[in-house]
């Protein structure tokens, strides 16, 4: 703990001179099934700002933590998918509402986590909030854009509608601690999936604060689960888990990507890959690229239904 002596300034609002009051520090925990457990393994790792300043201890999740999260996500998935589309939209919008209320805290945490000037952090946080709003609006529109009534050449009524894939594992972008994560999580969730998210390994703290928003929003427990920890430990377990239907490998380190996709095939997971030019240069503020209905579609299944027409 001694290593974190200088850490508080970065993550706790400084409303008074440091010496006037000893600040209360936050323990960063996991967010699983609507609860905030520590790892069953009791492990943690030190999170540092880009300049090397220690910021806090984050939970180093274990294989069992991940499996628990998948189990709870599975339990929440069908109920979430069965909610009305408008309701899912309102739940996502509510996340934006609550983030707005904690805007200053997010700006400070993103600035600390990513080593950014606060104006830049402010832009990223604002866009993170707006992104929830953008996806919230898709909830009751995506099936009208993707769905079809098919003019088959026989007397049958035939239509195609999108449905949620199920449980999606998301390896959040490593660089963009909040906006990148929100940009990948919101489209998966709005389509009716439950997700297990691995936050950025080096910049996990804003994501944990987002979990605190989620816990007080209307997102049902288990629909969004958030773990922190080491990619090398957790990604292979997520990729090989037989009850995960799809995996977003955006944040998987390049050298782990091939093996991750190999493991993912064991249960024929749908795999969402980062762009060819890599994650590092991706501009999360570019709405034309970073918020897309295709990112919702990536975790949807198209179901086609036939019924005879007759008297």
């Amino acid at each position: 703990m001694a290593t974190q002596k200088r850490s508080t300034g970065a993550t706790t609002p400084q409303t008074a001179p440091a010496q006037s009051r000893i600040p209360v520090r936050k323990t960063y925990k996991l967010y699983v099934g609507g609860q905030f457990p520590r790892s069953e393994s009791g492990r943690s790792y030190v999170v540092r700002a880009p300049d090397g300043t220690p910021l806090a201890n984050a939970v180093r999740s274990s294989r069992k933590d991940l499996r628990d999260a998948v189990r709870l996500a599975r339990g929440a998935a069908s109920g979430w998918a069965a909610k009305t589309a408008m309701n899912r939209g309102q739940v996502l919008y509510r996340v934006a509402e609550l983030m707005e209320g904690r805007r200053a805290q997010f700006i400070e945490e993103v600035a600390a986590a990513e080593g950014l000037p606060s104006a830049r952090a402010e832009a990223l946080v604002d866009r993170s909030i707006d992104r929830w709003v953008w996806y919230a609006g898709w909830a009751d529109k995506i099936s009208q854009v993707l769905g079809t009534v098919n003019p088959v050449g026989a007397p049958y009524f035939n239509f195609t509608i999108p449905e949620a894939t199920g449980v999606v594992g998301i390896v959040a972008p490593e660089g963009s601690s909040l906006l990148g994560l929100v940009s990948r999580v919101a489209p998966a969730v709005v389509g009716g999936n439950a997700v297990v998210v691995l936050a950025s390994e080096t910049r996990p703290l804003p994501a944990v604060t987002l979990a605190e928003v989620l816990a007080t929003s209307d997102v049902p427990p288990g629909v969004i689960n958030l773990l922190t920890g080491l990619r090398t430990e957790l990604v292979p377990i997520m990729a090989g888990h037989m009850d995960v239907n799809a995996i977003d490998i955006w944040g998987v380190p390049r050298e782990m990507r091939e093996q991750t996709e190999v493991s993912a095939m064991e249960s024929v997971k749908r795999v969402a890959r980062p762009p060819r030019d890599g994650d590092e240069r991706f501009d999360w503020l570019d709405d034309a690229r970073a918020q897309r209905p295709e990112w919702i579609t990536r975790f949807l299944e198209m179901k086609t239904v036939w019924h005879p027409i007759g008297v």
Partner: protein, 522 residues
Amino acid sequence: MAERKRSTTSVTRALAPRTKSADVGRGTDAPSTWGLGDGQRVPWEYAPAPESRDVVQLKSRYGLFIGGKEVAPRSGQWFTTIDPATEEPLAEIARANVEDVNQAVAAARRAFKREWGDLPGRDRAKYLFRIARILQERSREFAVLESLDGGKPIKESRDVDVPLAAAHFWYYAGWADKLEYAFPARDPKPLGVAAQVIPWNFPLLMLAWKIAPALAAGNTVVLKPASSTPLSALFFADVCRQADLPAGVVNIITGPGEIGLALVKHPDVDKVAFTGSTVVGKEIGRALAGSDKALTLELGGKAANIIFEDAPMDQAIEGVVNGIFFNQGEVCCAGSRLFVQESIAAPFIERLKDRLSTLRVGDPLDKNTDVGAINNAAQLAKIEELVEAGQAEGAEMYQPACDLPARGYFFRPTLFTNVSQSSRIAQEEIFGPVLSVLTFRTPAEAIEKANNTAYGLSAGVWTDKGSRILSMVSQLRAGVVWANTYNRFDPTSPFGGYKESGFGREGGLHGLLSYLDTGDAH
């Protein structure tokens, strides 16, 4: 003699109007037998009605189709494709090697760069319309060829495979110059060279499912048909020539599975589409790991066909039979798990057994044949193995007493009752004319059991109640759900699986998307 007499009586009863069928639906007492269902032989002879095979002119050898030309394989090796109904050889087929794969991909790349990729959509459309027309013009030839090489009944080749294949080209032809309306504001572009590997159960139809959308979207293709059914793809090469399709737009290579794997792994391939077993699909997926190739997989299935007590009985019986015995059950979406509501299980199974007894198994080229030959010896062995496993695990087997031809790969329509959920015949894809019958009491139990599989390709629901249909439809984890029907296909209708049945869709607007780059699809 005595036995013949008894069965005649039974037949009379089976053919008599079933005035009480409505009562059966309500679960009243059913007679112990409805007619033929207890293993009797049908008491009449069928006159043969063979389709002439003269319409198909087979050469003794078929080379590879690369860059618009038929070329000999660089391996210098050939293999024989046989008629599974007679085990007679039909023709020798080129066995491609890796160098042939390289040549085919290079030809496809050249055609994509030089001509096809920049050809206006309206011109691509015209080529595809031509292909559709030529397939219609040569429909009899292709139907006979498909039955000869694959063993499927001529009435299915003639009425399903060939017309649907032509319809796929027709449908996608019209999209070629309308892509910007299909995906507005997305600036859709072709992916490049598509590597396509197809199975032996619907050789021509799967070719059409693969090639038509790929070409409409502006891609060029290298297609590998299954090694037991290469002929219709090689005849299709001639259709491409007749249509004056630019050289290299369609390339066809033949050979064993390892050539298919070499093809999909080729570094200059942009898109891979595979239809076949889940085992091979996973192998292909692993082979592509870490690449930027687009991938769609259409894999195995173990579909549930669910019959509620209020289902229209006669239609449901026909739907169940069509669901599992269409194409000898060698269909990835076959309704191989039958779930019957407990209240009607006994009479339903009786009538199903009756119906099985009147199925005509035999010569695929006979126009009255319902169940033809199993496609190949290995598949027959697999069916036999799983049927033995079913018996060993305690399920009760029923097979009608039909004569099978002395030669060729044939298997009797088979029905298992008393099947447990965990039995191999309830879990594994058999890909043959074998139906496992299970029962359920409530809709929730039906859903639970139906979804209890790693697959998720298709499902069937039979009930007269509309709200129940929609409720079941929304809970079944399957890509295609047939309600009060089964095994219907159409070029406008997207087809593909959930879970381990694969990903991506073929058919319809969604099938087009599998061959287009619409920005970044991550």
